[in-house]
Amino acid sequence: MARNELKNSLAERYAFQLRIVTAVLFVLALFGLLFARFVWLQVAQHDKYQTLAEANRISLVPVTPARGIIRDRNGVVLAHNFSAYTLEITPSKTADSLDETIARLSHIVDITGKDKRRFKKLMEETRDFESLPIRTRLSDEEVARFAANSYQFPGVEIKARLFRQYPFQEVASHLIGYIGRINDKDLESLDEDGQLANYRGTDHIGKLGVESSYETQLHGVTGFEEVEIDSGGRAVRTLRRTAPQPGKDLTLSIDIKLQDMVEKLFGERRGALVAIDPRDGGVLAFVSKPGFDPNLFVDGIDPDSWKELNESPDKPLLNRALRGEYPPGSTFKPFMAIAALEGNFPLTRQTIADPGYFIYGNNRFRDSHKGGYGSMNFDRSLPLSSDTYYYQLAVQMGIDYIAKFMATLDLGQLTGIDLPGERPGVLPSPEWKKKRFKTPAQQKWYSGETVSIGIGQGYNSYTPLQMAHGIATIANRGVMYRPHVVATVVDPASGKKTQIEPQPERTLPWKPENIERVVQGMVGVTQFGTGARTFAGAPYVAAGKTGTAQVFSLRGGKYNAKAVSERLRDHSWFVAFAPADKPTIALAVIVENGGFGAAAAAPIARQVLDYYLLGKLPAALTANASAVASAPAAAVQEDISD
């Protein structure tokens, strides 16, 4: 037995040695192949490569394509390029220390403290061997002065570069976005996409907005020149040239005049507005206030401006329309209404008592209309914005049905708009709560929570884009288009236009009579309901809904607009579309801390519809922007509740 084992183990040892020998042969064969390759390159082909290396004063120099131009729907230029001289330093090549070089340079060209700080910040973000601008937009005189002294400054060069400029500055800044210098993270992503070669010679890349989401089209294809260089590395002559393909121009569906008007109407107030053509999903205005000047970012923002933007309590860098998640308040009710009709819930056929509150369990849910309307039914519930009615409706429908229905409207989902960084909002449901919270007590869905969901409070929170998209879906009678901001891509070389086709997302199987009933309810809002005063005298029929989103918890306490500080005041919402029978525009607008929906948001919506449908610009705009909104506000509060 023992002998057998020994024998086996010896046989195994032998088998293993055979394997090792095979492996050695394998290694030797492949290393031999390598060595043969070295002999081929270094002996047989040596002369050829020797010549190539000596003549390898042929350098491939990338030729950067011009970046595409961005225009609005009427051809107004929103982002373009201009050529200017910059003074650039390659930190690894300077003769003395960087500070000394800059100090000496400042005797020749004007270099401010701001320039120096901006340069320091750029240096932290990039590597030493990159050429970085210390001054941009040199005057001809400065160029001449430096050229005469350039021999004193190794590693410092004058370069002619194309600069990006945004002529409208703050207007539509969140939408257009900006380009900035390529950093390590961008490089990594370009590498992954196999785009690194195409970006040799490019310093800038889209960082935000359309500039980022359409980067591939805007950038174009880099060309290259074969340049002969002398032993010092200077170019002697160009041998061959492959021309670059310029980036594509973009035409947006945005009307910059409308956009500008809305931003002026907001004045100093914070908020957002999204207007969509419900027939194809084209975005007409995409406002987030306050904005910022994108020109600041193009060549590296200086630390002071950055600090100011970043630390401002108004959060100008936050794209509220795309990323701001707000409780929708009563603007949620039209969605509840169509959900109730489609589910054929009994409450839609009943008249209920409305004492101004709803008791559920041990809780008393207050109606914002003090004392209630006595009785309430489906058709009056939207115009008068009855909380009591929608509290009960929510309980009857149940949270599972509500969550399932709202998801089909893209609420709590990404709409898929062609802008980067969209946020999904929160569509509350028992499943969502389970995922969101950790302890079982927090995870449990309390039936009382369903009640406030009915009036768009509770965990509900959506972006202005989602609200506009949802309202556009009702306006277009259930046929959903994916929202998009770019309408056409234009090839500047051939002039060939590529239309971005409207993308039908899905058609919701709603009954036409149900849709018309909800539309009638929303028309009632502007005819005799909570938005009637704002829409008095409009020559078109608009459908709308006011909303007030609580910032400050109301439970138990009594809300007094004057007593709570400005930041805790309610957000003012309005959603609308017009003309009600064949809508060509749908919108959602929110004014942060603006109070009642009818007070701050509705007047902006009215001005947008007036402009879009009648071509009318508000007269008061040039005189005093804030007066437009604050004048009706005082009057509305007396007789309208929301």
Partner: protein
Amino acid sequence: MIKTIWNRIKQPIDPWLFLFTLLIFAVSAIVLFSASNRDLDKVMDKVTFMGISLGVMWFFANISQQTLMRLALPAYVVGVALLVAVALFGVTSHGATRWLNIGITRIQPSELMRIAMPLMLAWFFHHFETTLNWKHFVAAALLMVVPVGLILKQPDLGTSLLIASSGFYVLFLAGLSWRLLAVMGAAGGALAYTVTHWDLCINILQEYQCRRVATMLDPMQDPLGAGYHIIQGTIAIGSGGVLGKGWLNGTQTHLDFIPERTTDFIFAVFGEEFGLIGNGVLLVLYLLVIGRGLTIASRAPTLFGRLLAGAIALNFFTYAFVNMGMVSGILPVVGVPLPLISYGGTSMVSILATFGLLMSVGRDRKLMKG
């Protein structure tokens, strides 16, 4: 007293492997000084990393084989679990999901798999040594396919192939049937034929991967991108000739023609300045390391030790071959550094960790004898 400490330090070290490593380190420092344009800081960085990785090597060399065997299964399970976690909640960066956020930092679990895979398979065959039959090879292949598939899905073709090869070496050494090997060789040939023909390649691989192969075959297709690397790397090596242009005298290197010349393409610098003779010496140094590893493998008393040591030695060979093959233009460009020589610490630390494992296997033999 001092002698005791000295003995304690050198006791787990395999002198030959240690010597060959130091020789390659010396080559690394010399060529890096030239490749970095005489940047002493960079060389000192590298030397620091050499010190750290030698420490790591010593640490691993001290672990006994019994402990290694006990660690094999947990390391593999943790590795696969982390890879599954990556697939489920990994951090996606530019279309690839390779990282896991653990609060303080991001980790890349495929790195752990480089050690865990040969460890696991070696332990597996060792465990079933007495009853070994074809079913165990099927099971081992499955153990290999799961992590390799997960990494392939990230997607990270290069790493998954290298890990697959380390697993394959264990299977081979454990006695995978010759007939099957012949079939696999034929399949490999067919695959090579497929990927080198664009129309066929596009059916099985991503477009960018096929583009890399096509660029290798005809560098002028992409003269600004990967093709540029290949063209300039080949010119550098070819112009070096038999004797090389001499240290610090490479024109390709110093006129900035070689991209990534301190990392993945450092071999182009070496070939240009030290010529065919230098290349031969480097091949010999690598062969010595591989040979020492295989010697340790063939003398190891346990199947576990044999398989682990053999797989580590052959895997080291794969890295060296793939990098030099890619720089000299016979393999497509994949991001594999030249082992122990390229600038960068992570890969050096993990290679010396495996050397530590080799020494651990080698040391146990001594103990059994003595």
